[in-house]
């Protein structure tokens, strides 16, 4: 087995495989390249050349203008995403802990119902959520969006943590109880330190979902409270004046960079966390 891998040999079939892979890779990368190139061009440059030509003059004007336009909304998104991710992950971990280690009568049913949340389409909860936010006095606020995202995300985070904790031997909790540890001490000192991969999965998943969300943002926030996805849409869809493609592209890049960053920083945990429950006995 290993010797075959060590001596690949450039056979025709292998050349074909690599050619197809490289082609597929290019196809996926082209939009990103076009975006990057366009964002650094001047408007005249964009109108004269085609999509894939290098900029004549390397200009950061588009980025500066885009940042000036979406800056406020960018921080809105941060103010929505960071607390929503942290709260939903923390509560999900606690839920998973209770549902796996402190089962109560009907806890399986409870978990089953909670899982429904994973399959509910966003559109179905818009009206009830809007009604509830209005009653809570959180309509059109950042806090309101945080609440909506936390509630919607709990189904997923609970699922992740519960499935991980089910694979943890119950004897660990029993041992800690005999050692004198209480409910929260066991959670904080014994289980959470083991959960780093699962925490990473939750953070990546929730960050991506919440940062990229458009529907909740456009429905539950207005004006200056809007997240960057909504602002980007408004910017690109303006019909007045000359179309500034470099600014559009730069703004789109700014909107997409944070999720990219999260993947780069925590990505290695993602696969590990997703498979953690499967391999650990």
């Amino acid at each position: 087995m290993t010797s075959a891998v060590l001596k690949p040999g450039l056979t025709p079939s292998r050349v074909l495989i690599y050619a197809v892979l490289i082609l597929a890779c290019l196809m996926y990368l082209v939009p990103l390249v076009v975006m990057l190139l366009t964002s650094f061009k001047t408007p005249e440059d964009i109108n004269s050349g085609n999509l894939l030509t290098l900029p004549h003059v390397f200009s950061t004007l588009g980025w500066v203008k885009a940042w000036a336009t979406v800056r406020g909304y960018f921080w809105n998104s941060v103010a929505i995403t960071v607390p929503a991710v942290l709260i939903s992950t923390a509560v999900g971990a606690l839920n998973g802990y209770v549902l796996s280690m402190w089962r109560f009568r009907g806890s399986q049913l409870f978990f089953g119902l909670l899982l429904f949340g994973c399959f509910l389409p966003f559109q179905a909860v818009l009206l009830p959520a809007s009604f509830t936010l209005g009653k809570m006095g959180l309509a059109n606020t950042t806090a309101g969006l945080v609440v909506v995202h936390v509630v919607y995300g709990l189904a997923f985070t609970t699922l992740f943590f519960r499935n991980f904790y089910v694979s943890v031997p119950e004897a660990l909790v029993k041992a800690a109880r005999l050692d004198g540890a209480g409910f929260f001490t066991i959670f904080g000192r014994v289980l959470l330190p083991m959960s780093v991969p699962t925490i990473m999965v939750c953070v990546i998943w929730q960050f991506t979902q919440i940062w990229n969300d458009f529907l909740f943002g456009v429905v539950f926030a207005s004006g200056d409270a809007q997240p960057i996805t909504v602002a980007l849409n408004n910017l690109v869809n303006t019909t007045t004046g000359v179309k500034e493609y470099n600014v559009d592209m730069a703004a789109a890049m700014i909107a997409g960079l944070p999720t990219l960053l999260v993947y780069v920083l925590a990505g290695k945990y993602f696969l590990r966390g997703l498979t953690a429950g499967a391999v650990k006995g």
Binding site: L172, K174, R177, D179
Partner: protein, 384 residues
């Protein structure tokens, strides 16, 4: 150290379901080593969890030093437990694992360090203190798990099949070490196992369990030589006791049973006194070592043909057929005949046990009942 007493302990997982534990009754003195032994599913681990407080009992009382602890939470019971899977905290070092219980109980730092040092020295794990459990071998993990229990100096130690995850050689080594440690520390210990050799070698007292009922409670010697019923007799001892179906003949005071092979027969007199055995289906229980080669002048001799021999090293096991049942005899290797040969067996009728074929209970011997014979250590058993 402390005494432990269980009074009519019951455990059921809801009405309609069969009881998991039924009227468990036993008492051990300070420093004694109690073994709970039985096949899987007999309730021994449940009983241990109940003592630890990890599960609630449905009735009865658990007394430590004559104080009822059955309503206390596990952390207040001052009991430490070693788990079958060791249950070491994977993210903590060995030192942190041992310290954990002490830190939670807010023991002063200097005293914690002292305890860790004492335990590490006792178990010879000083060089492992900075490692994580994942970097240890099975035997080392086992030691750390014991260290975690020892560090707290609790009233009672519970061991839940602690040696069953080790390989055969290490298991024998650790068994001796556990015995040594118990002799040195004199700790009150409850030890669950399904291994009858561990039960015989480690225990001061053994409780043999089946279907949530204690079949017999006594010293290893009592359990071995005076088993209360067929189950205990067959569970303890390796190779197991021979059970030969017999029908007694004769009369009051002079009962004897016919034993037959295809080479001969023998009427074995019973020490059954004046019990009424007429027409009763009985089972004669004989340990493999209670069958011997007949010497010159022996009266009760039975001829048989050797069917199988199994040399185990120290002994050779010989199998013959008596009354249609395979019977195993344990003989010294240099005396053992070869397959197909004829041999003359003599029986130690005084040690032979009689069981009722229907109820499985052992019939009382002529002179004494098991309760009297065990001098105060009441052999608790119930009909099944």
């Amino acid at each position: 150290m402390a005494t432990l007493e269980l009074r009519n302990v019951n455990k059921t997982y809801g009405s309609g379901l069969p009881d998991t534990l039924k009227d468990i009754q036993l008492k051990i003195a300070e420093g004694e080593f109690l073994i709970l032994v039985g096949p899987s599913g007999c309730g021994k681990s449940t009983l241990m969890n109940c003592i630890a407080g990890l599960e609630n009992i449905s009735g009865g009382a658990i007394l430590v030093d004559d104080a009822d602890i059955s309503q206390m939470s596990p952390k207040d019971r001052d009991i430490a437990m070693v788990f079958q899977s060791y249950a070491l905290y994977p993210t903590m070092t060995v030192r942190q694992n041992i310290e954990f219980g002490l830190k939670i109980r807010k023991v002063p730092k200097a005293q914690i360090d002292q305890e860790v040092e004492r335990v590490a020295k006792l178990l010879q794990i000083e060089h492992l203190l900075a490692r994580k459990p994942g970097q240890l071998s099975g035997g080392q993990q086992q030691r750390v798990a014991m260290g975690r229990a020892l560090a707290r100096r609790p009233k009672i130690y519970l061991f839940d099949e602690p040696l069953s995850n080790l390989d055969a050689k290490l298991r024998v080594e650790m068994r001796t070490e556990m015995k040594l440690m118990h002799q040195r520390l004199k700790t009150t210990t409850v030890y669950v196992t399904h291994d009858q050799i561990e039960a015989m070698t480690l225990g001061d007292k053994v409780a043999v369990m089946k279907d949530g009922i204690i079949q017999q409670f006594g010293t290893p010697k009592e359990i071995y030589s005076e088993p209360a019923n067929l189950f205990v007799a067959s569970f303890i001892g390796s190779p197991p006791m021979n059970f030969i179906p017999v029908k007694p003949a004769g009369g009051r005071g002079r009962w004897h049973v016919p034993l037959a092979t295809d080479l001969g027969q023998l009427s074995l007199p019973l020490a059954a006194g004046d019990a009424d055995l007429d027409q009763r289906e009985l089972i004669l229980g004989l340990r493999p070592e209670q069958l011997a080669l007949a010497a010159e002048g022996d009266s009760a001799v039975l001829q048989a043909r050797v069917e199988v021999t199994e040399p185990t090293g120290p002994d050779t096991l010989i199998f013959v057929t008596i009354n249609g049942t395979k019977v195993c005899c344990r003989l010294a290797p240099d005396l053992a005949p070869a397959v197909g040969e004829m041999l003359k067996l003599s029986f130690d009728a005084g040690k032979a046990l009689l069981f009722d074929a229907k109820t499985g209970e052992r019939l009382a011997r002529e002179s004494k009942t098991p309760a009297e014979g065990s001098a105060g250590n009441v052999a608790q058993f119930r009909g099944r």
